[in-house]
């Protein structure tokens, strides 16, 4: 084929390699879209001095510093997100590139540095601002290089004898930020002005002391001033710990070796990434995924991903993306689309390599804008991660197809669950202060099936496989709700030769004083958890609450056993009350004492043909209560004794042969299928926000495969 990118035709009238918004006070898109800064003279001197072995020792040392800082930050914080690992601690190069990061959240590894570059470019030499040892900066603006306004970060320069060596940076999912809904996520926000604080880069402290006037401004801008102040101080304290530790290393090695070592880590990572990419098959790979809502309303949205792999380079292209709308916060920025790829790349594709921004050097990112994936500055951005995660899911599918015929087959798998559903509880907690946040159930999603084994149940958080789910007794104290159960639930993962992992579903209730609930999500009627190589997708994940139930009274009065699981509650309605299943993006609503919340984050996709699943494994699934008898019989086509869960071998073989015959009868040859398929189309009410059908930016498209424009 040769010159693969030469065969790709990008649409006229769109931007691809940069943001769809321009320079403004506090943000500079050039700083967001640029790559790693060239090394300074000091760094070059240090890079030359460090041998490969010494660099390894140095990297290990800096890693231990940020890992220690991670523990410090989590221990000092009182926000659920931070405590359970939705955070990062970092050391940046002097020019502001993240070199060594402990996380937490993998995309944090690739974000939150443009603000540092902004400080260096615009404030360092500004006499009204300047840059000095002991300065403390705050930022949270998603258009300036962050994620969403409720992810908040602090950074501080690391000076030694007036020489800038690097930066310490600490932050994570703080939650409440003064947005229209308590707790940060505002699913009905349509402009950035409804999403609370926007701080590009603000010096909030000198000589490691916070300025009281600025602190008062912050505390008067949020609903939970106690939590905000406490966690802000935790970030500053952690930054100082990082800075002090790095300075010890400077005293031991000298300024050049430390500054140059940080920069050399990135250069080595870039080389390693290219070496790995060069071992994969050249070609063009594609995957597409859809959403069923935009925030305020339902509607189809498309996010296609094309990866062109040539030599030691990748180009990731999002072309044919649904247009920007003004109907909700599901809009992503160019830099978040790029950074989010780290979630897949670092965990699977580049498995074994140290996660840092150097790994992205051989990867070119082209995101069509303006669109939902590369939006303007004025729309709401709070759920941009919904869009960027769709790209990551595509990338995971594509990556597995690239890695199958490679030395890195161990990473071949279906994607982790991203059928996002977040319940944000707000009210007075058991300590008596106002709190607004989600619980660690976010971190109990199902893993996608792997090429040689099932996915793990309740494995972790989509964005961060190393997060924890927290202690329910503690979250019951910190948040205005009461956890009744966490259950590995039934029929809520992808089926396959190897099945996806099932989530742990949290069943909780409103306390005596009641509480407010905001829910945000996606994939209510469809799924973002594809299977692979014939595996089925993880299923959709709508909102599920029960009102007027007074669960505490009913449970205390019942003498029989009530199973508190999503499956049982939804199927059997064992408690009297108003059962509500709905679209997940819902504004803040008050819930009374004993109202019930059912909250899970979805199951991973399956791998391979269901008819190849070992029948004994299907029986194990039944014993573990993760599938129903119907699925065992009708999907896996296993014949078994329902009482003893014993497989009828010959009966199963005959049943599966019958299933294959049914397929051959049901399936149609390509031309016949396409002729009928192309007559179909979703109804117009579903396509209001989609763009032109079926290619959002190519009216009249009529090819059997998408993405073919020549």
């Amino acid at each position: 084929m040769g010159d693969l990118m030469g065969n790709i035709r990008l649409h006229d009238g769109f931007v691809y390699d940069r943001h769809a918004y321009e320079l403004a006070p506090g943000r500079d898109p050039e700083l967001l879209a640029g790559g790693i800064e060239p090394p300074s003279d000091l760094e070059l001197k240090g890079m030359e001095a460090l041998s490969a072995v010494e660099l390894e020792v140095f990297q290990h040392k800096i890693t231990s510093i940020v890992e220690e800082a991670r523990e410090v930050y989590m221990a000092l914080s009182i926000s659920e997100g931070i405590i359970t690992g939705d955070m990062n601690t970092s050391v940046f190069t002097a020019e502001g590139d993240p070199a060594v990061v402990a996380t937490g959240i993998f995309f944090h590894t690739l974000l939150n540095y443009p603000q540092v570059k902004y400080i260096l470019k615009y404030y360092r030499d500004d006499p009204t601002v300047g840059l000095h040892d002991g300065d403390v900066y705050f930022f949270n603006d998603p258009t300036c290089g962050g994620v969403h306004t409720f992810d908040m970060f602090v950074s501080a320069p690391i000076f030694h004898n007036d020489v800038l060596i690097g930066w310490a940076e600490v932050g994570g999912h703080q939650g409440e930020c003064g947005s229209m809904s308590p707790g940060g996520f505002s699913p009905t926000a349509t402009t950035r002005w409804e999403e609370g604080l926007h701080v590009g880069a603000l010096r909030i402290g000198d000589n490691w002391e916070l300025r009281q006037d600025i602190l008062d401004f912050f505390l008067n801008s949020v609903r939970n001033p106690f939590v905000f102040a406490s966690d802000l101080k935790a970030r500053v304290a952690t930054c100082k710990r990082i800075r002090d530790r790095v300075l010890r290393e400077v005293e031991r090695r000298g300024e050049a070796e430390v500054a140059g070592g940080l920069r050399k880590i990135l250069a080595v990572s870039a080389d390693l990434a290219m070496q790995r990419i060069s071992q994969l098959n050249d070609g063009v790979y594609r995957s597409v995924i859809f959403n069923d809502g935009v925030g305020l309303e339902s509607g189809l949205i498309r996010l296609p991903t094309t990866v062109v792999k040539e030599g030691d380079r990748l180009t990731v292209i999002n072309q044919g993306v649904s247009p920007e709308n003004n109907m909700g916060p599901q809009h992503c920025t160019w830099h978040l689309m790029r950074a989010s790829m780290g979630v897949y790349l670092f965990t699977y594709f580049f498995r074994g390599l140290a996660p840092n921004i150097g790994l992205l050097e051989p990867i070119r990112t082209l995101v069509e804008g303006p669109s939902v994936a590369n939006c303007g500055a004025e729309v709401a951005h709070g759920e941009g991660t919904t869009i960027s995660a769709m790209n990551v899911q595509n990338l995971h599918v594509i990556g597995s197809k690239m890695l199958f015929d490679s030395p890195f087959k161990l990473s071949v798998s279906a994607p982790f669950s991203r059928n996002v559903m977040i319940y944000v509880y707000a009210g007075i907690n058991s300590y008596g202060y106002r709190a607004a946040n989600f619980t660690g159930t976010q971190n109990l999603a199902g893993q996608g099936a792997r090429f040689d084994m099932d996915g793990e149940h309740a494995s972790g958080f989509y964005w961060a496989s190393v997060t924890d789910s927290g202690e329910v007794e503690e979250s019951d104290m910190r948040l205005p709700m009461v956890t009744l159960a966490r259950v590995i639930d039934k029929d809520i993962h992808g089926f396959g030769k190897f099945r996806g992992g099932t989530p742990s579903v949290e069943i909780s209730a409103a306390p005596v004083s009641g509480c407010d609930l905001t829910t945000r999500g996606a994939s209510d009627r469809l799924s973002h958890n594809p299977g692979i190589f014939g595996g089925y997708s993880g299923p959709p994940n709508p909102r599920f609450v029960v009102k007027k139930v007074d669960v505490f009274s009913q449970l205390s009065q019942r003498t029989d056993e009530v199973e508190l699981s999503q499956y049982s509650l939804a199927k059997e309605h064992p408690l009297s009350g108003e059962y509500q299943f709905s679209y997940s993006s819902q504004p803040t609503e008050h819930f009374d004492y004993g109202d019930l919340f059912v909250h899970g984050v979805g199951g991973g996709g399956g791998y391979g043909d269901v008819l190849e699943r070992d029948p004994d494994d299907v029986m194990d699934d039944l014993r573990e209560n993760v599938i129903s008898f119907d699925v065992a019989r009708n999907v896996y086509r296993v014949v078994f004794d329902q009482d003893t869960l014993t497989v009828d071998g010959p009966g199963t073989q005959a049943e599966r042969e019958l299933a294959r015959k049914e397929r051959l009868k049901r399936g149609k040859p390509f031309a016949e299928f396409i002729a009928e398929w192309q007559k179909l189309r979703p109804s117009d009410d579903k396509l209001l926000y989609y763009g032109d059908w079926p290619e959002p930016n190519a009216p009249g498209y009529s090819k059997p495969f998408w993405g073919l424009f020549s």
Binding site: D282, D524, G531, G534, P540, P669
Partner: protein, 120 residues
């Protein structure tokens, strides 16, 4: 020489043909999508994904008005080599479009590289 490119699909070299590795059925030229050599079914996803609950639209299964389950079968043995979840009528995905010249160079000229037969 056969090279496994997915769980179920090999490419025969130097013929450059897609082959089902479960039954050896030829699925067509490798410079086209293997999906053109498959039997394809448009299914209601609720035949596979159980409806949980009482709501018509929000029930932990797919809404067939929004998304269809497209299954690709080997015409020889009925193995399901791939699935797609697409809005009704949305074009299929040409998911693997290899640079076959580079692929052949890599696999047929690299000394010591094990063939699929060797690996088995």
């Amino acid at each position: 020489m056969r090279v496994s490119v997915t769980e179920y699909l090999d490419i025969e070299l130097p013929a450059r043909r897609w082959i089902c590795n479960r039954c050896n059925t030829d699925l067509g030229p490798a410079d086209r999508s293997y999906k053109e050599g498959c039997l394809i079914a448009n299914r209601n996803p609720r035949e596979v994904h159980p409806v949980i609950g009482t709501d018509e639209h929000f029930n932990f299964s797919f809404d067939p008005e929004w998304i269809r389950l497209v299954e690709f079968y080997c015409p020889g043995c009925g193995t399901m080599v791939e699935t797609e979840y697409l809005p009704p009528g949305h074009p299929l995905t040409w998911d693997i479009q290899l640079d076959l010249d580079a692929f052949e160079r890599r696999h047929m000229s690299e000394p010591g590289r094990a063939s699929l037969e060797d690996q088995r």
